[in-house]
Symmetry: none
Subunit: 424 residues, 2 copies
């Protein structure tokens, strides 16, 4: 393998979370992307090349973590152990190789003595401004059974936090306490293999979960939420146990300096796991109010120091999870504004802009689906095709064809002369 | 991996055996599918999404067994040992893990002492109404060299039967006695590895083949066939030695209740091997006279109890094997009638209909070919495309793109919310 001398070409990959969708009856059979007014996306498509991406494989609904790993060129089957470590990295935590990391959700539960705890709201109403204060109550707590085990908790965005267990003889082979659906009970964590470490870790997690409830439900912060008519954030549900992934960085693979602009912790975590610099952008909230102009400008600006920027845009996905296609349209129009800002601030002669999604999220059922997502690549060396609209259906006939997610990075890196030659 | 709560969505997969074809000069360069009048197929395509399927991989002619395994989502390279066990399962036999199963053909041979037996007709004229009676003569026969080996034979359709060897120290690593072409000699079965078991099994098969000829050629049933001017069914040719496949069921993989409507034993056998319920439908003969209305109604009716129905339609393939493109057109028009009946009897709001083929069969040379087959999927969540005709060429530009066979089930199961999410 050899590598040609790179010229000063740059690439920005914009990932619109959950962009693909189903045809929606209330939109006269259009998808939200088809129904939205997207002059910039359409222009970028018309002047660029388009295609479809099966992010994992045809028909497979991707998770947000595995979806992003695929778009960044990584095969989750060999590097993915669970969502937890990406949340922890995204929260800015340093992980040791033996740490077990979890994604945590502040949630609302109702516990009945001897009958377990019923989950009333898996996200405690999604708005948890007291998150950082609540985390202070449980970060560093000591488990009576295992005083040598360290518990580290960090709040990220809204109801989300990352939880790390640090110590000896821990295993990631344990099940979640999060039941993944409302109106079910908090689950007992169970060992997923026969090792002592898994049995020990599951018992720790169950002890920890009881401690979370005991401490949080007694907090005056929750008394205040109750008085304000808000659902209590009286437990942390854990899921996605995993360990630090050992994967080559983008710099190792392509010799590039890469940066990430994102609001959500998971996306920053995936970016950190592949060696990206994480830019701190004021107003990048991962919520509906995220500042798309600030994000676009930050991405364009850092191209003076970086060869590749991954820019994550979250709220279209949140709207689909909330089964709100009109809100999704609004967020896609916000994405259009992000791209028009980005386009104005980059040097068109040497910059490639790619836009795709990590998965489809259906505004009909609020779930990730396995339907493929549209892709556009715009830039100076692109063989532009006849497609003039950026949509799921229009891109199905684009010149880039139908790809799988992990094809994207070699294609992008090839445009900027960074994909190593295979053979001589 | 997690699975969202499935709603009550249903899917019917119609497989038209051997549907794809070559452009036929006598049809002015059209394929039989292009030349046939297919208003329902075209309407389903126009209102749905289309594509092409390379059932195994580009250019590879699929067998009927491996083709169906691929369309049902299974990788034959890890689960397929031979056609025999699927024929046996389809004939309703119970297989033990150590059984060696074969597909058998009643055939017409002419034997000359010391010079072997020449195959005059591999299918004994295809019409063998005495099949069940002839099988009684050889089912349970005892081999003088190995009285502990059980021989089980069961007739299925026309010239077809399934043969099972049951006992100790048997191997599937042996060659066929069927020469696979007319005018060649019945083959000696040979061991395909150096094991004693393979050597022993090959010698048993050769002894069994001689016994088949001795018993069948002496039968008064064949004297009657001779008198009626019919080719004798005086031997059973064996092929496709294999053992019971150990594969996860569709229920294991997708949590679905699945059913099969088919006339031919092989297709029922593949369906049984993946855990489907086999429906018994009067008039489903797998021949030209098969009752397409009864099959469609049975498939629609069982959707009240099943989430997924695999409906197999055989005679288009038989016509192509007989190098009769006009007959194939007639059978494709019968398929169109099947689909129009099916469409009338299912709930369009919650039912997906997919139509494809297990392989192309050329009406020019009568062989399976590696040309891809057309696919349509029609249903409430489908991103319909601009294709308005169901044919090999029109579907090549469809929105589903070009897929491989084992992509189909994840895609279909994704539509009915049954494909598990990969990641979190």
């Amino acid at each position: 393998m050899s590598r040609s001398i790179p010229d000063s070409l740059k690439a920005v990959l914009v990932v619109c979370d959950g962009l693909g969708d189903h045809p929606i009856p209330s939109l006269r059979g259009k998808t939200p992307l088809e129904a939205a007014q997207t002059p910039t996306l359409d222009q970028l498509a018309a002047e660029g090349a388009t295609g479809l991406i099966h992010v994992i494989a045809p028909g497979i609904p991707p998770g947000s973590d595995t979806g992003h790993l695929a778009l960044l060129g990584y095969d989750s089957s060999s590097c993915y152990t669970g969502r937890g470590p990406f949340e922890a990295l995204g929260a800015g935590m340093r992980l040791h190789p033996t740490d077990i990391a979890f994604r945590g959700n502040f949630a609302t539960v109702q516990c009945t003595t001897g009958q377990g705890c019923r989950v009333l709201d898996r996200r405690a109403g999604r708005r948890v401004p007291e998150g950082a204060k609540l985390v202070k109550l449980i970060d560093g707590l000591s488990l009576p059974s295992s005083p040598d085990i360290e518990v580290v908790v960090k709040h990220t965005v809204e109801h989300r936090c990352a939880v790390v267990l640090r110590g000896r003889n821990l295993s990631r082979q344990i099940s979640d306490t999060d039941p993944h659906e409302q109106s079910l009970d908090v689950q007992e964590s169970k060992p997923l293999d026969t090792s002592e470490a898994a049995q020990y870790t599951a018992s720790l997690v169950n002890e920890l979960t009881r401690a979370f409830y005991r401490i949080l439900s007694a907090s005056p912060l929750n008394a205040e939420r109750r008085q304000a008519g808000l659902p209590e954030a009286n437990i942390v549900l854990l899921r996605g146990a995993g360990t630090l992934p050992e994967i080559p960085s983008l710099h190792d693979l392509y010799g590039i300096r890469a940066a990430c602009v994102a609001g959500g912790a998971l996306y920053k975590g995936v970016a950190r796991s592949v060696g990206m610099d994480i830019l701190s952008v004021r107003g990048a909230t991962a919520r509906y109010d995220t500042d798309e102009v600030a994000k676009a400008k930050a991405a364009a600006k850092t191209l003076s120091k970086h060869d590749f920027v991954f820019l994550h845009f979250k709220p279209a996905d949140s709207a689909a999870h909330d089964k709100n296609p009109q809100k999704k349209i609004e967020m896609i129009e916000k994405l259009d504004h992000l791209l028009s800002t980005l386009q104005k601030h980059v040097d068109k002669d040497n910059t490639f802009i790619a836009l795709t999604a990590d998965h489809s999220t259906s505004s009909l059922n609020g779930q990730h689906t396995g339907d493929p997502v549209p892709l556009l690549i715009n830039g100076p060396r692109v063989r532009h095709d006849h497609v003039t609209q950026f949509s799921e259906r229009a891109c199905a006939n684009g010149g880039l064809g139908h790809l799988v997610g992990k094809d994207l990075m070699p294609i992008l890196m090839n445009y900027i002369s960074r994909t190593p030659k295979y053979g001589a």
